[in-house]
């Protein structure tokens, strides 16, 4: 079985399992709406301030949401003891990690489809004129986030206090992604929107480095 095919099977299994109950998605969507609302009470921004802090708000919300919603990705295998089935499956660990990563990418993208319009309306920041470029940055940032997040989810799933441990591992490692993602998004929300090439290449570099790392190290995540 090729890696691509095995990954597709794992991806399909994850998505079907989620679509049966949709509990992860609905919980996370409510969570991001709460966070976006809380920011208003904490900072009470006017329109100009909203444009300035908006990019940070979006990315911090996504980081927090990811550090909570990626947790079940491997933890549920631990609870159901299906981790043994996964270990014995005729698929490489990379295929399993890749399938789960892509499923998480899909889930987080769905969260973003809700988050961005809600943010845009509540804070009066127009996103439609820069939508194409915003989607590109969101995709690159989210990809890096789920690549590292899925690997760390496998680590924290097999430790104590895993719900608390995952944010602890994930958030500080995300700093070199947060800075370019926020700055690139800020470039799009500026008066004359522009896509900053430097920050864009930083995002791509992050994705490449950590995707390679997860490919090289995923064998160690699922062993006995």
């Amino acid at each position: 079985m090729t890696t691509a095919r095995a990954a597709a099977i794992v991806f399909g299994r994850e998505v079907r399992a989620e679509m049966r109950t949709r509990e992860l998605l609905q919980t996370s969507i409510v969570f991001v709406i709460i966070v976006v609302t809380l920011f208003n009470f904490a900072f009470e921004p006017d329109v100009a301030e909203a444009r300035r802090i908006g990019p940070g708000l979006i990315w911090i919300t996504l980081l927090f949401a990811a550090s909570l919603m990626l947790n079940p990705s491997f933890a549920k295998e631990q609870n159901n003891d299906t981790i043994y089935a996964l270990r014995m499956a005729p698929a490489t660990s990379f295929a399993i990690v890749l399938g789960k990563t892509l499923a998480n990418l899909l889930f987080l993208s769905i969260i973003e489809i809700v988050l961005v319009p809600v943010f845009s309306v509540l804070y009066n920041v127009p996103v439609l004129p820069v939508l194409g470029r915003l989607v590109l940055i969101l995709f690159l940032g989210t990809f890096g986030l789920v690549v590292v997040g899925t690997v760390f989810s496998a680590l924290s799933a097999q430790a104590r206090l895993r719900e608390l441990l995952l944010p602890l591992l994930l958030l500080p490692v995300m700093i070199p992604l947060l800075t370019p993602a926020v700055e690139a998004t800020a470039g799009l929300f500026a008066d004359s929107p522009a896509l900053d090439r430097t920050w864009l290449s930083m995002l791509i570099a992050f994705d490449v480095v950590f995707f390679t790392a997860s490919w090289l190290l995923c064998d160690y995540l699922l062993e006995e």
Partner: protein, 235 residues
């Protein structure tokens, strides 16, 4: 252990001399005066911290390649010791910055990077406390350590582009940024002493980790033996 004591004693003498050299032998700095003398311990601690961090990365990779727990013991020893040195940097930095810059802290790239690395190593230490099985703890902390290490150049780049306010590098900086020869001598002496101190602390911490492992092994053996003894009595 006796050798360790002698080494520690010699190092203490060397450290006192480093303090003396930094305070009295190094020439006065033209604009910052006395406060600049923090540099000799501040920058050399940073040097030792970086060396310890390199050991961490090397030990993490070696563990995954060789699967020998000794590499894991070295990794956690070097992590803890590097945290001690990064802490020295984070404490002496603001003490220097306050009179010179007028603020305790700025989000300048070097301060920010030091803080980020310090936090990442704290997370590494927390991760280890939450996994009981020694093998799994070793594997997972090695994987996390490698992710941390890969992130540091990216942190460096992103923070560097984002902020710059720190004094320019004087050791490996541009052509005009040379250090006074006596200052350089004192600095390299201090860096050497800090490196020795780092090695000494790593050796001591490694011994702790090895003892813990021995104690755990022995406890399991005793439990097993008493269990089988209990079983034969029951039979």
């Amino acid at each position: 252990m006796k050798r360790y004591g002698i080494f520690a004693l010699i190092l203490t003498v060397l450290m006192f001399f480093a303090g003396y050299a930094a305070l009295f032998i190094a020439p006065d700095e033209a604009t910052m005066h006395a406060i600049q003398r923090i540099f000799y311990f501040h920058a050399s601690s940073g040097w030792a911290a970086m060396e310890a961090s390199m050991i961490v990365f090397f030990a993490n990779v070696a563990y995954l390649a060789k699967r020998d727990l000794k590499w894991d013991w070295l990794a956690i020893s070097a992590v803890e010791v590097s945290v001690a040195f990064w802490t020295v940097m984070l404490v002496t930095g603001p003490i220097w910055a306050h009179p010179v810059w007028g603020v305790w802290w700025t989000w300048d790239w070097r301060l920010t990077l030091t803080l980020v690395i310090w936090i990442l190593y704290l997370c590494y230490m927390v991760l280890r406390t939450l996994i009981a099985d020694p093998e799994r703890r070793a594997v997972f902390s090695a994987v996390f350590g490698i992710f941390v290490f890969l992130g540091v150049p990216l942190d460096y780049l992103s923070i560097r582009i984002w902020r710059t306010q720190h004094p320019q590098p004087v050791i490996f900086g541009g052509q005009n940024s040379g250090l006074d020869p006596t200052m350089a001598k004192v600095f390299f002496y201090c860096s050497g002493v800090m490196t020795l101190l780092m090695i000494l602390l790593v050796v001591k911490r490694y011994r702790l980790e090895r003892l813990r492992h021995d104690a755990e092994e022995l406890r399991l053996a005793v439990e097993e033996a008493s269990e089988s003894a209990g079983m034969s009595r029951n039979l």
